[in-house]
């Protein structure tokens, strides 16, 4: 594995290897000195064309805990905002000696372009590209879910896949890179996925995806899923007629207080809530649900660092061996 561009490229073996490596990294994160010398002398560039403080600091923490040198390159205020092309930016980073580029971009496929052209040799990590994919988010979701399921079952998480698990993903699937990455990764790991959304927020052709699709959240909850992943819904979508009003959206597809009350039913007693953040409280999720003990949101953030450490470690050590 030279790059991480899409979870579609991962075999079950690849995915489990990343998750198992992340378990080892998590152990480092629990130590008093949270640092490994693994990537000393290597340079990781966080190339962010889109604002995302959460993802950027997660990657930054991951690289630093592996002792890499980190350069944060925010496109705003740089030469990119003066019209520099992606090609020139990439060649500049190559000349500086970047070993890995973590790229966040509003254009789907921008990480692919970096990886597949001869502009740069560095390992490329997709940190979210347009409405395409966000592979490390899906990996941290899978990691969080795997740990939860292992805890419930009383079995070790290392080495496990997600066979038999059922995950419901709710919200704006059409515009969600998180949903795409999760559908491919979770199903690769053996989980069953159900997408729940208004029909306007499902991609054309979604019926060809390896998952179930429903317009009815209550029906999906009645199937006793192991996890419910709520996606952020941007209120602006209302203006483009994806749904009539935020109130109607919340009522039909939100995890409000009433719907969350069902989580006390016996068949949902072990069901957890995932959210990639940032949450829009009161729209797709109520504060009661978000702040409950079912919510894994902060665990997801913590696990994100371990998963990104694993990805950087695996990509950059693989690269070293080919040199």
């Amino acid at each position: 594995m030279k790059h991480l561009l899409s979870t579609r490229d991962l075999t079950p073996g690849d995915a489990i290897r990343i998750l198992d490596t992340a378990e080892e990294m998590a152990a480092v994160n629990d130590r008093e000195v949270r640092k490994l010398p693994a990537l000393r002398g290597r340079t990781v560039v966080n190339l962010f064309f889109e604002d995302s403080t959460r993802t950027r600091i997660s990657f930054e923490a991951a690289a630093k805990r592996l002792s890499a040198d980190v350069i944060n390159f925010a496109a705003k205020g740089s030469s990119v905002s003066k019209g520099e092309s992606l090609k020139d930016t990439a060649q500049t980073l190559e000349a500086i000696g970047a070993d890995a580029v973590v790229i966040r971009h509003s254009a789907a496929g921008a990480p692919h372009r970096l990886a597949m052209t001869d502009w740069i040799n560095a390992a490329v990590v997709n940190a979210g590209d347009g409405t395409h994919e966000h592979p490390t988010q899906a990996l941290l979701d899978a990691f969080t879910l795997r740990r939860h399921l292992s805890k419930v079952a009383g079995t070790p998480s290392t080495g496990a896949d997600l066979a038999g698990a059922h995950v419901v993903i709710v919200g704006d699937i059409l515009h969600s890179r998180v949903a795409r990455s999760n559908v491919w990764l979770l199903t690769t790991l053996g989980a069953r996925v159900t997408l729940v959304a208004p029909p306007t927020l499902l991609p054309f052709g979604v019926e060809q995806w390896p998952c179930a699709v429903s317009y009815d959240l209550d029906e999906a909850l009645a199937d006793a899923p192991d996890a419910v992943m709520m996606l952020r819904v941007q209120a602006e979508r209302m203006n483009a007629s994806y749904f009539p009003s935020t109130a109607e959206y919340s009522r039909l597809w939100g995890l409000g207080d009433e719907r969350f009350a069902r989580f006390s039913e016996p068949e949902l007693k072990d069901t957890v809530i995932l959210h990639p953040g940032p949450m829009v409280r009161g729209l797709e999720i109520s504060s009661v649900a978000a702040d409950s003990d079912r919510s894994q949101v902060l665990r997801q953030v913590a696990n994100g660092v371990s998963v990104r450490m694993a990805v950087l470690y695996l990509l950059m050590s693989a690269k070293e061996s080919t040199r």
Binding site: A107, A108, G205
Partner: protein, 449 residues
Amino acid sequence: MTASNASPEAAPSYLLRGAALYGGERADLLIEAGRIAAVGAIAAPAGARVVDADGLVALPGLVDVHTHLREPGREDAETVETGSRAAALGGYTAVHAMANSNPVADTAGVVEQVHSLGRRAGWVDVRPVGAVTVGLAGEQLAEIGAMADSAARVRMFSDDGMCVHDPVLMRRALEYVKAFDGVVAQHAQEPRLTAGAQMNEGAVSAVLGLPGWPAVAEESIIARDVLLAQHVGSRLHVCHVSTAGSVEIIRWAKSRGINVTAEVTPHHLWLTDELVRSYDPVYKVNPPLRTQDDVEALRTALADGTIDVVGTDHAPHPSEHKECEWAQAAMGMTGLETALSVVQHTMVESGLLDWRAVARAMSEVPAHIGRAGDQGRPLAEGEPANLVLVDPAARWVVNPSVQATKGRNSPFAGRELPGRVVATFFRGHPTVLDGALNEPYPQPAVVTR
């Protein structure tokens, strides 16, 4: 013709020995003074240059109904000179230069400039297409009459690149061009259904997360336009048809006797949206590459005549507009130097078309649609000597960096294609000989009317 009268005796004559006319019967062709002087078994006259055409197919010179020459305004992408050189190398003797230049070809002045540049270049007939609306803005009719009466004698009008989406304006345009025996060539794209669209809407766009360009955005405009053409009794040409649904609508319209012609590009006859998985913008084009089902339907439609012509939609772009992110990249592909080979590969070698039908779809009907009088004529005695010799047995690998077009954005780069243009005769003069550019046709730049 002022030009060809200048010095007919001085022009050398050519004897094309043993060409297969339209891929069939073999004959010699004698070219003298800009015309086909004789067809048959001919002894070489004194002084005639003999071209060995053994094994070559002779076709009337190709006519493109859809070319972007970029001049004036984007001379970094293409000029009339470079674009018409590419055309000659592709076997063309006439191209219709689309109006989306800068300034837009929406006045007699701009179309006369393009026409004049074409004559000065001398590689092919450059026939300017006039804009339907001022600035391609879709708000107000351009001076269609002035362009029709200009030295460029414009007969085809198109806002190509933009759709004439206002139904009233489209109706008026269809009606108005009747006064000049004109045709409206529509770029069928409902703008509201395609805002921000990046590729065909389908299974691939869903996975790639690129905003989709649904087939219905093309089909709904074509359906409306054929009904408008029927209502006002006018002539409609549909540019770059790309979907199976569009084919059905056009087939229906033709069965009702509606005066509509349709065009397909070489790339839509072959390539599909699966290529977009690479995110390489060389595959970004408008209308977008569709699915294999669409490709099959387009091939069938070209074979059965539902689609009348192949138009290249040759759209060169500077490399910086393609060496970037998909969403930022320009739409368009080069096509003049690969069109005939792609048609041979997709249509002739698949058994769907014979060379006779290729002549119809790439020369005769395009000339008729554009009212290019001395183009697309039969290979017969007394006819203008616009013709091409093709070696159908040749194989070559597309290398954009050695093409005559300035554009390096060929989606066929690296592919092996069949068929090579060996010679192109433009008004009796060889613009291409031995597969390479020869000399342009000598003629004055200034046209006297």
